[in-house]
């Protein structure tokens, strides 16, 4: 990360704009759109099938081969269901909420690099034009993703509020508090990656990860370079952000019926469902981009029948990594029991946020030291000592606080008792 910050921009968009450019842009948009929709359908099927396997059931089997058309069948069924808008609801917001839920999920996907040969710059030659295989590469890059995930809260919050019903309201307030709590940790985990990459652009991040690895076999992926901690924080915070199990208190069907979308029916309900799975795929894609080098990977066969197919390997690696990440999400769902709400908040604020911040500072100290040729081992030891001291202080402070609060409560109890006595005497 030296030199001036290169303004990452798709070379396709820097010259004159002709018909080819417009068509290519539209093509990329439609490609990403189709990819998202198809993968959502397959993801729902994949999740049900895999969960079935993990529960020793079959999962969907009837519609199509291996039940692969189950999602489509469910979707078609929902089209024919009556759409009810509760009388007491706020009709305008009630109808707006599905849009607010789905559109950010959709837009966040725009910054994910899908393919390209990142061993040689990552750009692709198509019809004589050079471009990136991603919908857009805005200079704010990963901040775009954070912005969209912060807007996603609106869909959940307003869906619950506008229903004019108690369970959805409780579910939505709970959900938004949860999403908001984990967004802090999410942003701080991203900051660690930005620190290493020296850029906000997702294209640059992938490019940095495609560089020569360690010992020739271990890739230079950020999951290793940033020392695993930001990755773990990001995955946990991301799962909570998605409201997926084990963080699915939002829907906790035993307590809240269906959570924020209890009052939704028919295709409007399907839209929330779609948004949820779209978010899962986007989140997995962002994890792959940030920590696993996105489409970066070796090009095994560079040319086929005279065509340069180096960029197609990028697509393949990206899909493989995405698939593994999606598997992990389903796996977590099948393995981990749901959190209690206080545990959830504890994890977010008392563990993830401080850890992410501490690790960020640690990485920053290492990086600064590297630039000034300090002794790395010394910095590491010193930083670890500082972290240990900070943790010890924190634990002490919290313990003191707890004791003080317990004392106060006890004193209050005595006071109450005395108060009751005096009242009793007086009467």
């Amino acid at each position: 990360m030296t030199g001036t910050l290169v303004l990452a921009a798709d070379p396709l968009l820097s010259g004159d704009v002709g018909l080819v450019e417009v068509l290519l842009t539209l093509g990329k948009v439609l490609l990403a759109f189709g990819f998202l929709l198809v993968s959502v359908m397959l993801m729902i099927w994949f999740e049900r099938k895999l969960l079935g396997g993990m529960h020793q059931r079959f999962g969907p089997t009837m519609a199509g081969p291996f039940g692969i058309l189950q999602t489509l069948a469910d979707g078609i069924k929902l089209f024919f269901k009556e759409d009810l808008v509760p009388d007491r609801s706020d009709r305008f917001v009630f109808k707006l909420a599905p849009y607010l839920s789905l559109i950010p999920a959709f837009l966040a996907f725009a910054i994910v690099p899908l393919g390209g040969d990142f061993n040689s710059g990552g750009s692709v030659e198509l019809f004589g034009r050079t471009t990136f295989l991603q919908v857009a590469d805005p200079p704010v890059g990963i901040l775009w993703f954070l912005a969209m995930s912060s807007l996603a809260v609106y869909g959940v919050m307003l869906a619950g509020w506008s229903s004019g019903s108690k369970y959805p309201l409780l579910g939505s307030v709970r959900a938004s508090a949860q999403m908001v709590s984990y967004e802090a940790a999410l942003g701080l985990a991203v900051a660690s990656v930005v620190l290493i990459a020296g850029s906000l652009s997702t294209h640059d991040m992938v490019l940095a990860q495609a560089a020569e690895g360690y010992f020739g076999v271990i890739p230079r992926w950020n999951v290793i370079v940033t020392g695993l901690v930001p990755f773990i924080v990001f995955v946990i915070a991301g799962t909570a952000e998605l409201n997926r199990p084990p963080f699915d208190l939002v829907e906790a069907e035993q307590e809240l019926v269906g959570g924020f979308h209890t009052e939704y029916s028919s295709i409007r309900f399907a839209l929330f469902f779609l948004a949820e799975f779209m978010n899962t795929i986007t989140m997995s894609a962002v994890i792959v981009t940030l920590f696993f080098g996105g489409p970066a990977g070796p090009v095994l066969i560079g040319e086929l029948a005279g065509f340069d197919i180096g960029w197609a390997w990028g697509l393949l690696w990206f899909f493989l990594k995405l698939f593994v990440m999606l598997f992990v999400f389903v796996w977590m769902r099948a393995t981990l029991p749901r959190f209690r709400y206080d545990q959830l908040m504890d994890l977010g604020w008392k563990a993830l946020t401080p850890v992410a911040l501490g690790w960020f500072l640690f990485l920053a100290a290492l990086e600064t030291g590297r630039q000034r040729d300090w002794n790395e081992a010394a910095i590491t030891v010193l930083s670890l000592l500082v972290i240990a001291a900070a943790t010890a202080l924190l634990v002490r402070a919290v313990r003191n606080g707890r004791r003080a609060a317990a004392d106060a409560a006890a004193a209050e109890q005595v006071e109450h008792a005395e108060h009751a006595e005096t009242v009793g005497e007086r009467s």
Binding site: S150, G187, A420
Partner: protein
């Protein structure tokens, strides 16, 4: 093209701003505030201030308005606000005075700084920021160079806000009677923290 985008976003911004004042339902007002904020983000992009645009969305649309919505839900507002009631005596004439003062201030700024706004003359800050670097780089250079102290003061300000909120929310549980305390503990243990209409709300 730039003019079109500017015109569309300007209309959205103004429509949102009018909506904030006109809507009686606070949630609708908050939503139209989001519209205004997103429009401003588009204007930032139009001026190549990409980082500021992202900040506008992440902080204002994503956090501040969410905070507003939490407050609205905290109050449990289900009906439109009663406009007849005047909680602070004389707040209406006062609002007119403050509004006029604000408008006068804005007008003065526009008149004095007309050359800067139209680009005829460049402000000192603009000259300092000159260069081909991206806006995030330039902002960083100013924030962590010249205004380093202001950044720390910002941190202190935010911390004070949190401390204030904690103090205010805690005070509600102090002068509670023993019966209410028992009631609260019962309610906390079985109904969960977000049971409707808790004593926290009553304490307001």
């Amino acid at each position: 093209m730039v003019e079109t985008v500017f015109a569309v976003s300007a209309v959205l911004i103004l429509a949102g701003a009018v909506g904030v004042v006109v809507f009686r339902n606070p949630v609708h007002a908050a939503l139209s505030l989001v519209l205004t904020l997103l429009g401003v983000a588009v204007l930032f992009v139009l001026n190549d201030a990409h980082f500021l645009a992202a900040v506008q969305v992440v902080v204002y649309a994503g956090a501040i308005v969410i905070l507003f919505l939490f407050v609205i839900m905290l109050l449990g507002v289900d009906t439109a606000e009663k406009l007849r009631v005047e909680p602070i005596a004389g707040q209406r004439p006062l609002a007119v005075v403050v509004g006029a003062a604000l408008a006068a201030l804005l007008g003065t700024v526009v008149i004095i700084g007309a050359d800067v706004l139209t680009g005829l003359r460049r402000s000192a800050g603009e000259r300092a920021l000159d260069g081909s670097a991206s806006d995030i780089e330039r902002i960083g250079r100013v924030l962590f160079g010249e205004f380093a102290f202001a950044v720390e003061v910002t941190a202190a300000l935010l911390t004070v806000a949190v401390v204030g909120a904690v103090v205010l929310t805690r005070r509600t549980s102090r002068p509670r009677s023993a019966a209410a305390a028992a009631d609260a503990s019962l309610q906390d243990s079985d109904a969960g923290p977000d049971a409707p209409s808790t004593d926290a709300g009553r304490g307001q």
